[in-house]
């Protein structure tokens, strides 16, 4: 599903000094794997996820998504990839304000170029346990509910890959737990999930854990007896 080789990301600070956020990162993730990426603040987790999510491009190295080398795709090509292949879940939910839950879920369909399937967004809301809340405005929902709406939105265009950057970071442990259970179910349905977290407890929901330190993969371990859907490689 995903293969990165010698991935590097260098940012330039305002004063021009370079910051190496990722240094020579290589790994592969198979279809259907549920992987967490853990590491200290500033270790490069978000930088990695942004590249995997085609929001950003690597400074050097190769990123293959489903066999395609997308490292040098244009902004427009990456937009199309994000639209059809990738679903995002963010720490701060990032739902549109003054917009209902249902409308939020429908947003990705606007950009897919296909007809919006009647009832699909409602079915997704039902899938995440919010069947009754479609007409509610975002501000009327709790944090946990908002994150569920965000997950339903991420599923709208049926992407094979879900990326989540600290999806439980803004939630209390109970709500966080149920979000992780939901993601676990989605993983069991065969979706590839990559989840960034600080929290060791959260990482326990996944089968595989990448630890990142100072822009390098420090470890790559299988956590549970449950075998991943595909082979893995260490760095």
């Amino acid at each position: 599903m995903i293969a990165v080789e010698n991935l590097e990301k260098t940012y330039r600070r305002g004063d021009g000094t370079p910051v190496m956020a990722l240094k020579n990162v290589s790994f592969t993730i198979g279809e259907g794997e549920f992987v967490t990426v853990r590491g200290a603040s500033g270790s490069g987790k978000s930088s990695l996820l942004n590249i995997l999510g085609c929001l950003d491009t690597p400074t050097s190295g190769v990123y293959r998504l489903a066999g395609e080398d997308v490292s040098n795709y244009t902004d427009e090509q990456r937009s199309h990839l994000r639209c059809r292949r990738i679903g995002f879940v963010f720490q701060s939910f990032n739902l549109l304000s003054r917009t209902t839950a249902l409308e939020n879920v429908e947003v990705p369909a606007l950009y897919s170029g296909e007809r919006i399937e009647e009832g699909k967004a409602a079915a997704l809301l039902e899938r995440v346990g919010l069947a009754e809340r479609g007409g509610h405005f975002v501000t009327e929902l709790s944090g946990g509910e908002q994150q569920r709406v965000a997950i339903a939105r991420a599923l709208m265009n049926d992407p094979p890959l879900l990326l989540a950057d600290e999806p439980t970071g803004n939630l209390d442990s109970e709500a966080g737990h149920s979000i992780m259970e939901l993601l676990g179910e989605l993983s069991n349905e065969g979706r590839t999930i990559i989840l960034v977290t600080h929290d060791e407890a959260v990482a326990e929901f996944a089968q595989r854990e990448l630890i990142i330190r100072d822009g390098l993969i420090a470890s790559d371990t299988l956590r549970t007896a449950k075998p991943p859907a595909s082979e893995k490689t260490g760095s």
């Binding site: 937009s79 963010f90 606007l110 950009y111 897919s112």
Partner: protein, 407 residues
Amino acid sequence: MKLGQTISLALRTLIRNPLRSFLMMLGVAIGIASLTAMASIGEATQQETIRQFKRMVGTYDLVSIVPGAASTRGMPSLTTVEPSLKFDDATAIAEEADGVLQVAEVQNAFDIDVKYRDKTTVSAVYGVSANWLEMREYFLETGDVITQDDIASLARIAVIGQDIVTGLFPDEDPMGKQIRIGNVPFAVKGILVSRGAGPGGGSLDGVLFIPVTTASKRLFQRDYLTTITAQLSDPGRPGPSIESITTILRERHGIVPPGEDDFTISDSRASAEQVEEVSSTLATILTGVAIIAMIIGGTVIMSLMLIAVSERRREIGVRRAVGATRTDVMLQFLIEAATVSVVGGLLGITLGIGGATITAMQQELPPVLLWDTIGFAVCVSVGIGLIFGLQPAWKAANIDPIDALQS
């Protein structure tokens, strides 16, 4: 993203931000209202000016022949006018010229004292042939017109304008009363309906008509005319008639080109075109004012959209993350600007037409509803939205999604 979806998204966004939408619409509405109102009032003024002008110079099918070469011609008056046009010239034109329906003879003078008992007023006095009043579309309030009999008998009768009535007969019925025109007594035979003010604002009622023969033999003692007016059968093509008249007069006056003509033929359409030109200049100025107003409206949209773009960074980031291209974002904001502008424009058109109608009623102008102005105003509103929405939309499209999603 499909256009229909983009428009419905724009409408939804506008409805959910009512205050901002209202302010944006207001900017455009004021601009479009002034455009619509100005154009309507400008058009009404122009139509009214042309109507007044026609009232002053007569209908378009008339050409006037005045004595003197074009270069030396000033306002005709008894003291300065060249004695080159004679009664026989008028008769010859009536009988021989091509495409001439009828000919009127005029011998006039300005600033003549007109008296009744102890009152005096100053008026233009026109000695005219019997067909003149009808040709120039003067209508009578009471009494009778100058007849062929009056002409033949050199009758001392006068048809007077409203200014003479007010000047000499403030509280008397002038009909049949004896007035003195330059010390010659005349009986008032008819009173004209008021023609109001001319394009310059001056009164058109300070006139007095008497038979042209009487003027010639009894009042001014001159055997020449100050104007011959010919009515053409084909006003659309005055050229051949004018040529024919020129040939007749040159022959009668013994003028051989390149010798200078001792008469000038003027076609009233030329002057009418000048008036139209002046009026359309007025319209252009008014439109200019409206355009400035619209630039202000556009600027309001632009500033508010720019603020909206900053406030909606996160939304833009989300849309980009879930697959919107830069073009999608750009279009979304452009269409939003165009939509708000069109709604504002429609509001403005309504206000503008209302304002123009009220103004027209106050100024006693004919009300005009200009469909092409309305169409133009709608296009202008779309244009304002698109043009002034361009920079905000461009800014929105170029927001970095990663940046926008943090915070």
